[in-house]
Symmetry: C2
Subunit: 444 residues, 2 copies
């Protein structure tokens, strides 16, 4: 079958779970024992060309609900023309968010919206692979008018119009060639969260913080919010380990109400925190604005749990955040993240994406690199989070050197997971879980 | 087994779908052809006492994802003490919204949160049945301090504290006896949406509008937002049918951006609309505030898609709404709706619940009646939506007479659906769907 007539023949889904809770990797004030997981999908095609891969990151229980949500989108995808999808991923994105019956389950939020994001991201993986380019390059080289066509401006027009988006993207491309050379030479700045998980001992925190600086990172991040005395002690240890020249971000993972967020953040001021991340509910635009007014000069950052472009719009309109932390797999995929990047550019707020989890580093690097090359044009005060686990499961894992993400060169969105990983960690029938469940089910 | 040792033995779930799209019942500008559905659950117990029933309302596709979400909560419920649950439904509510792994799928929004609401509401149904009281009465007679204990104040304390809640509930009870007599005598005011579905002809609209006034309703509601010329014609017909003394609400079901909402609403001003409902995205607090500033004296109403108490809080803080339309099955159940009712009382905004769908009238009447008896103490500018379909599937259907909901007298939350309905409309194996699918699968 020729490339022009190829169709999507199947949406294969897998419930992948990694037993991370056993090492307290990823532990924070709200998520004491996550089992990092992915609701993973493969777009199969009728030809021999590359397939598309995508996923939603979750932290364990309920991953099967996320898989069910991806499954319910299948009817929109199977039978579509591969060439048509690659030429216009937005056509599918609009159909998915516009399904009038499915929309009731959101709209555009939570499980269903993350499922849309997983499918849409898989289409971009497919499109980039078939174009023979890493996604950052495909996006950076794309015609600005085509990028604008990929965005749904519904509910955005009071803050961003298609005309403004086109102007931002047209202006953003100037000097892209020089920046591409810089990106390929130096990579994109990263910061690391690896030292700061709440479940780690002070000794481990100190050791990893020292190592992070030695590895070339200029910012580290600590989880806070469970106990103030602990936080004071841990921030003191971290600051002592890294010295005054390194940025120290703190992350409360939504633990606080407004007044408590202000009080607690100010109590940590002596350690010169660079930003306070997720001080309260990701839904609380006005709360973030109040917190920002109360904790300056500490910056306010949020985004990993922000459900869609409409809440990002308001966070920017209300002057509620200094740093926008988009997530590659929380919203409706690349198309919606293009809107979020444009909103941030319009309001002049730097984007420092959320990463970690399963494969989030792999995905977001493409979005930040596109932003640098063809939109914001700057890496000033911009960094991608880096967490050093689970990369080994990806065919095209991120490479971080001297505190920078190397630009991926392999075609696609870096989303593909090894078949051996699927066979091992698929829940509950992969070899790891089958053995684990057999063990726990044994009579005493 | 005695009542004190009874346990929850099972959470039975059913995917119920009604083929409403074939009559265009429920059609609006965003939902052209809904198949009204319910992800329905039964809490089975180890004794012979009453069981608990609850559900999430959806409009068709994806109802199986909603069922999967309820299924994933099962482990939190099975094995619990019935007496313990009935004495403190909040203990389960807190465990469900606090499950750190499941929380990632929201937090507190969308499919997972609606599942929490369904389970929590089933517990209240169980509790009310076992107390031998309709839920409105159980709530109205409850100790204010106990009601406060049922609320999660996280993310609310900048707008409502437990102390303020206790004061509102304590004051709210004054004169409850007299109001109970009034409620039992007159019922609770209703308005009707039955004439105004977008798919209805002008003739049907006019006929049903005239009938609504004859039936004692003092407010009707029309769907708008698809086409302005149509809306002008339909509003003219409706106003002509009901005369100047009847309130005419209009509902755009999220169709517009901010500027368009203001323009369109003002274009309908000649027909004296009482409120504009869901003018834009339910997530857009600042957008609603801008619209409200632009359409006065028309009131702004929203809530049926407002995901949780945190967004309601902000709508009130921002002065974005005149009318709060809580929904019984969108948020985390009775416990969260107690918080929403208290927020509305604190800010002095009347609550006019969203209803219709499957069983939403049956549920919300209990909340409004409680609000009247023991919190706001008033029915002024307060009405419950009424739509006259699908009530026949409930064991304790609402009774609306002379434009008022009669107070239910049967113990429980009026949530229970007939077994024959389950056998008929369970998807895809109920008798209706099995026959329907067999028909459509027949070769031509």
């Amino acid at each position: 079958m020729s490339a022009t007539t190829a169709r999507i023949t199947a949406v294969e889904t897998h419930d992948l779970r990694f037993p991370t809770s056993r090492e307290l990797d990823g532990s924070d004030a709200m998520n004491p024992s996550p089992d990092y997981s992915a609701a993973y999908l493969v777009l199969r095609t009728s030809d021999d060309g590359p397939e598309g891969h995508g996923f939603t990151f979750t932290i364990g229980r309920g991953n099967e609900v996320q898989v069910a949500a991806i499954d319910t989108l299948r009817a929109h995808v199977v039978g579509r023309s591969v060439a048509g999808l690659c030429a216009d991923p937005g056509s599918l994105y609009r159909d998915l968010i516009g399904d009038s019956q499915l929309r009731w389950l959101g709209p555009e939020k939570g499980v269903l919206h993350m499922a849309v994001g997983a499918v849409v991201n898989a289409v971009w993986d497919l499109a980039a692979k078939r174009a023979g380019r890493p996604l950052w390059q495909l996006l950076a080289e794309a015609d600005p008018a085509w990028l604008v066509s990929q965005i749904d401006f519904r509910y955005l027009s009071d803050a961003l119009t298609p005309e403004e988006a086109l102007a931002l993207l047209t202006r953003g491309r100037r000097g892209a060639e020089q920046r591409t050379a810089e990106l390929l030479r130096r990579g994109y700045p990263a910061y690391t969260t690896s030292p700061g998980w709440l479940g780690y001992s002070d000794e481990k925190l100190t050791r990893l913080a020292v190592q992070a600086v030695a590895d070339g990172f200029t910012q580290i991040k600590l989880k806070v919010g469970a106990d103030l005395a602990d936080d004071l002690r841990r921030c003191r240890a971290a600051r002592a380990a890294v010295g005054p020249g390194i940025r120290l971000a703190v992350d409360a993972n939504q633990r606080w109400d407004v007044a408590q967020a202000i009080e607690w953040t100010n109590a940590l001021a002596e350690f010169d925190p660079y930003w306070i991340e997720e001080p309260t509910s990701p839904d609380d635009v006005l709360g973030h604005a109040a917190i920002r007014a109360g904790v300056g000069p500490v910056k306010v950052a949020t985004g990993e749990h922000v459900q869609n472009r409409i809440v990002f719009k308001q966070l920017l309109q209300a002057g509620a955040i200094d740093i926008l932390q988009l997530d590659a797999a929380r919203v409706g995929g690349v198309n919606e993240n293009l809107a979020v990047l444009l909103l941030a550019a319009k309001f002049g707020v730097p984007v420092c994406p959320h990463a970690g989890g399963v494969g989030l580093c792999e995905l977001v690097q493409h979005l930040s690199m596109f932003d640098f090359l063809a939109l914001s044009g700057s890496t000033e005060d911009r960094m991608i989070e880096y967490v050093d686990h689970l990369h080994e499961h990806f065919l095209d894992p991120v490479v971080v050197e001297a505190g920078h993400y190397r630009a991926p060169t392999r075609p696609g969105f870096s989303a593909e997971i090894h078949r051996s990983t699927i066979d091992t960690y698929r829940y509950p029938d992969g070899s790891f879980w089958a053995a684990d469940l057999a063990r726990t089910e044994q009579p005493a």
